[in-house]
């Protein structure tokens, strides 16, 4: 059942994209079929293949009862990891790479340690991973920006 819902969602998005493609601006010297040609071909093919798949799923009991994996992604420790990473990603620009990464490494390592061993990290270990987290993120930052001249967000630590 889940797979059918998944395909239905994809189909709705595809049909929506099909209609959006109608409003693409057209260049009058372009004789190649225009910007909407290729997306439309793909959408038609996609719908065609999904219809066949739907028929197969409907006619096959085994397929029909197969569990569709989706919500497993948002359960327990996985949810914490996903949310933590999302917060990290959203804050990395305003706060800067070094601060967010240090905090993220520290927090996530603590959480995963707890999940794996069912006990909290010792204070001493905490100190070590905090210090190494700061060092690693600072080292990364300096390596990328100074050695490779690749920009990473500086954030509120203006002096870096």
């Amino acid at each position: 059942m889940g797979e059918l819902i998944f395909m239905a969602i994809i189909a709705v998005i595809a049909v929506f994209m099909f209609f959006v493609s109608g409003s693409f601006p057209v260049s009058i010297i372009d004789k190649s079929g225009g910007a909407s040609l290729f997306p439309r071909i793909v959408i038609v093919l996609l719908l065609f293949f999904m219809i066949i798949r739907t028929v197969i799923v409907l006619r096959n009991k085994e397929e029909r009862e197969k569990v569709f994996v989706f919500f497993e992604m948002f359960r327990g420790a996985r949810l914490v990891y996903l949310l933590g990473t999302l917060v990290y990603i959203l804050l990395v620009e305003p706060l800067g790479f070094v601060i967010t990464t240090s905090v993220y490494l520290f927090g996530m390592a603590n959480f995963m340690y707890f999940k794996q061993k069912d006990s909290i990290m010792s204070l001493q270990r905490n100190g070590i991973i905090f210090a190494s987290g700061v060092l690693i993120s600072l080292g990364m930052y300096l390596f990328f920006t100074r050695v490779l001249s690749i920009l990473l967000p500086q954030g509120i630590l203006g002096f870096l």
Binding site: V26, S27, I28, I29, D30, K31, S149
Partner: protein, 330 residues
């Protein structure tokens, strides 16, 4: 020979420097000189909005080297790639207007604006000046029967819409093709070439001809595989005097099709900073080694004043607006 040339250039520059000293003492308007009242403290980042090693990047790197030669700070080339070159401009637009971050203005910006795909114009920046001149050329396969532009035009006239002229659509060569069509009242089949592999299409005769920078097609002309029917300029290229200019081929009003690269600073950059960088361009473009290195690639350094450049930008933007109507309709 080289040494004599160098000496000449140095001699020619002495007055410029002398003038610089004088200027400083009198604290006159910060014009014309490298060592005038404005002295940069930060390195200058020369943003190339295309990838490293490309046709725009290579001249930029060479030119930046000579700009560094005449400046107290280093002129570094950085590539900010994306959105057909627009990503670099957007990045520079946001930068501090202190002359430490500049964007290379490719020919693409006025075209993209005229096609409605870029939202900024030269007015959103502080134009500094032009630094590079390169010429477009029309080439056909050496085996073909087209010996001159007239042959090509005649063929297009005889069979409208079938002679395949290639260009990377939406770039200057497309506009050049349209200009030829408009002036001679013919119609080509304007086919799109992939930016990375233009020559194979002509080598294998899948297209009848294409337009590209002279530097890019030079080696095929030398190897005898292509024939160059004309260069879109009124000045002969040294060493290739037998190639007719577009004036000789009977075209007029094609000046806007010059592949001129300029330099822009973020809007609000103080006038003396702009003048300082404009003068760096001047000094570098007059450097004999720089001219030699560029000429080897089939291009030439250029220079004009800030006012002249801004005026050129104005006419170029207006001209493209006109021609773009042939592409987008309305």
């Amino acid at each position: 020979m080289k040494k004599v040339l160098l000496l000449l250039v140095v001699l020619m520059m002495i007055p410029a420097f002398a003038f610089a000293g004088g200027d400083q003492e009198e604290a006159a308007p910060a014009a014309e000189v490298a060592d005038g009242p404005y002295v940069p403290t930060k390195d200058i980042t020369f943003v190339v909005p295309f990838s490293a090693g490309g046709n725009s990047d290579i001249p930029a790197r060479i030119f930046a080297k000579y700009m560094t030669k005449y400046s107290d700070v280093e002129v570094k080339v950085t590539n900010i790639v994306g959105a057909g070159g627009k990503a670099g401009a957007r990045e520079v637009m946001k930068a501090d207007p202190d002359g430490s971050m500049l964007i290379m203005q490719p020919v693409g910006y006025p075209m993209q604006y005229s096609l409605g795909v870029a939202e900024f114009t030269y007015e959103d920046f502080a134009p500094i000046g032009q630094w590079l001149d390169s010429t477009l050329a029309v080439v056909v396969n050496a085996d073909s029967s087209y010996m001159s532009m007239d042959d090509l035009v005649a063929a297009a006239d005889a069979a409208p819409g079938t002679i395949k002229m290639g260009s990377v659509t939406g770039t200057l060569p497309t506009f050049a093709t349209i200009e030829i069509e408009m002036q001679k009242d013919v119609e080509f089949n304007k086919v799109d070439l992939s930016g990375a592999s233009k020559a194979p299409e002509l080598l294998s005769n899948r297209i009848d001809g294409y337009i590209d920078g002279f530097g890019a097609i030079k080696q095929y002309v030398e190897s005898g595989q292509f024939r160059c029917l004309g260069i879109i300029t009124d000045v002969k290229i040294k060493g290739y005097e037998e190639i007719p200019t577009f004036t000789e081929a009977g075209f007029t009003g094609y000046e806007y099709l010059k592949q001129a690269f300029g330099l822009w600073a973020p809007k609000g950059t103080p006038a003396e900073v702009v003048e300082y960088i404009n003068n760096l361009i001047k000094l570098a473009s007059e450097d004999a080694e720089c001219i030699e290195e560029m000429n080897a690639l089939g291009i030439a350094p250029a220079h004009n004043s800030v006012a002249q450049y801004t005026k050129n930008m104005e006419t170029t933007y207006a001209k493209f607006q006109d021609v773009a109507k042939a592409i987008v309709g309305n």
